[in-house]
Amino acid sequence: MSLIVKTVTRLTAWLILLYGINIILHGHLTPGGGFAGGVIIALSFIHLTLAYGKDAVLRQLSKEAVHVWESVGALAFLAIALFGGAAGYFFANFLPAGEPFNLFSAGSIPLSNIAIGIKVWAGLFSIFLALVLLRINRGDK
């Protein structure tokens, strides 16, 4: 990509990343949540990949690491559900509800939001990597 694209990407990619994290963390107070924030974080990584090429990104974050993160997200969500099971029933809200309209409130909902965010980010980014890294070798039949 050209110099303009690279410079703009350097200036904006981390802003997009921070916006996604903000949306995930405030998911129980303002519009947003794990789904939207996860997609936005994935978009910031895709932004970097499109501007700098896949090698620059894969040096920092390998494909295997993305798969590990995805499993971590799924297992964290399941673990939250199982902790709720220990407190009464599956997906019970086992933490105290706390003061409403605070960042630390709503029991286990922010934790679930973070787990879903990691899961959606890693899943979509690995789908994108699989679609980009493909080398089509035609006519091998």
Binding site: P31, F35, V39, F101, L124
Partner: protein, 111 residues
């Protein structure tokens, strides 16, 4: 009447799936039908002059729209993206093998 326009959009999508020869265009038709269904859900939950279903510390908010269809559609949007990605992967694989997106030609070449 607004439901009817939404169903027209659904019909456009179904027509694309049924009558196009290009696989990418079929995928586009599927996405359009999906958008129409999502929109129909949210339309049914809308309350006239309602407010977004987010409470505020200033006081109670009356007249909220229905949060249930919104929650269902929020899940459906992400699933739709995942399905699209899988379909695109299959289409690209077909293009790698046959060199075309044309359904009719793929059928001819298969034998």
């Amino acid at each position: 009447m607004i439901y009817f326009l939404c169903l027209v959009l659904l019909c456009v999508g179904i027509y694309g799936v049924l009558r196009k020869r290009n696989i990418i265009r079929m995928i586009l038709g599927l996405i359009i039908a999906e958008h129409a269904i999502n929109l129909l859900f949210v339309l049914i939950g809308y309350r006239l002059n309602g407010r977004a279903p987010i409470l505020s510390p200033d006081g109670p908010i009356l007249q909220m729209v229905d949060p249930l269809p919104q929650a269902l559609v929020l899940t459906a949007i992400v699933i739709g993206l995942a399905t699209t990605a899988l379909l695109v992967a299959l289409a690209m694989r077909l293009h790698g093998k046959y060199g075309t997106y044309d359904v009719a030609r793929i059928r001819e070449l298969k034998g």
